[in-house]
């Protein structure tokens, strides 16, 4: 029987805390293997999604640990493996949760939080789309690349216009929700 979304979300939270209590790299390696096995199809995409945000931080941390080990002459392999594996396991858990848990359903008991989440997500998409539109429009209008000063001025103008548009759109959404009785909780 498939688990409900609130239960999946609760399991994710429990697993995240449990992983921070494991300090043996071999156990973490087993957990990583288990997660990859259980996560079903689309494992490479999931691993990529999990690895991308933490890659640079792990590279910087690992080089720092290796450098410190070289300076002090102490073995650092255990700490290196432990920290890297833990961060990757936690990132993989989060990526899996994002893929397989519908947060709208998981937050069904908290309608205000759910509504806020929906509006903010909508606005984030709107800002991204406006920024993309602006970049494309500017590229198509100019033969040479704009100077830094022009880019700053253009970004400020589009940013404030996006803010106005965002507020207007969000007000429209709220009015639509109110007219459908969604704000009477």
């Amino acid at each position: 029987m498939p688990l409900s979304h609130p239960v999946r979300f609760a399991l994710y939270l429990t697993a995240v805390i449990a992983v921070t209590l494991i300090h043996d790299p071999r156990v973490l390696l087993l957990v990583l293997a288990g997660l990859l096995l259980l996560s079903g199809s689309g494992r490479p995409a999931l691993l990529l999604r999990a690895g991308r945000p933490v890659l640079w931080i792990l590279l910087l941390l690992s080089s720092g640990i290796l450098f410190m080990g070289w300076l002090t002459g102490q073995p650092v392999l255990g700490a290196l493996l432990l920290i890297n594996l833990r961060v990757v396991v936690l990132a993989l858990l989060t990526a899996w949760m994002v893929r397989d848990v519908d947060l709208d359903l998981a937050l069904a008991r908290w309608p205000r939080a759910r509504r806020w989440l929906v509006i903010v997500r909508g606005q984030v998409q709107l800002f991204r789309r406006l920024a993309q539109d602006y970049r494309c429009a500017q590229k198509s209008r100019t033969v040479v690349a704009p100077t830094l000063h022009q880019r700053y001025l253009g970004s400020a103008a589009i940013g404030l216009a996006a803010l106005d548009k965002g507020v207007h759109n969000a007000e429209m959404v709220t009015q639509a929700m109110r007219s459908r009785g969604a704000l009477h909780d």
Partner: protein, 220 residues
């Protein structure tokens, strides 16, 4: 300056959670009192703006990342409690959508950036606004970012002292304050200046549009 999951020990994030939960509860009460349905769209837009600002990240050697925050702007427009709650939502979304920050690091990130950042910006602005309003915005945002960065650097640098294996090897973040303080604070001097200028631009726009209520304590 997000701390990712896996670098903070339970000795740190569990007490931070115990501090953050009552503050979130109190902030939720303030939110219900202060934010009516008519202000919710504006809050959502500013929350989204904070999300976009803090999504442009640069990894720093101190085990965290450098980016604008946007919480100062939220605090100046909506007050510190609402800003704290809104920024917590930004952090949750970033953890879940982009994998930046994380669930175990959430209480520390929320307290450092959301709570300390919002309250520092709010209090400094109200302290300095009688001198000159624009200067007050710039100073409040700049110093609030430095305070948040300082707290993140202190928490990260504490990890090797409180979470070690039997052989003394670090179990979580491995570097002490001699690394974290300069690695995190120095880049945030520049980030703070840029964000202060950006906040001033948007704050002036918000004031022109009358989005900052004239009757509340949040106006100039």
């Amino acid at each position: 300056m997000h701390i990712p999951d896996g670098l903070i020990s339970p000795q740190t994030y569990l007490p931070a959670l115990a501090v953050a939960v009552p503050l979130w509860w109190w902030a939720a009460r303030a939110f219900t009192r202060q934010v009516g349905d008519e202000a919710l769209p504006r809050l959502a837009v500013f929350t989204a703006l904070a999300f976009v600002l803090s999504s442009l990240m640069l990894p720093l050697p101190g085990g965290t990342s450098g980016h604008a925050i946007g919480v100062g702007l939220l605090a100046l427009v909506f007050g510190p409690w609402v800003a704290f709650l809104a920024y917590t939502l930004v952090l949750v979304l970033q953890a879940l959508v982009m994998g930046a920050g994380g669930i175990t690091a959430l209480p520390v990130n929320a307290l450092a950036m959301g709570f300390i950042g919002a309250w520092t910006a709010y209090l400094l602005f109200h302290l300095l606004r009688h001198v000159q309003a624009d200067f007050a915005v710039l100073a409040a945002v700049f110093i609030s970012i430095l305070f948040s960065a300082l707290l993140v650097a202190l928490v990260l640098g504490l990890q090797p002292l409180i979470a070690q294996g039997p052989d003394g090897s670090p179990r979580f973040f491995p570097f002490g304050w001699s690394v974290t303080l300069p690695a995190i604070l120095l880049p945030h001097l520049f980030i703070g200046l840029a964000e202060a200028a950006l906040t001033l631009l948007i704050w002036r726009h918000a004031r022109r549009r009358c989005w900052i209520p004239a009757t509340s304590g949040r106006e100039i």
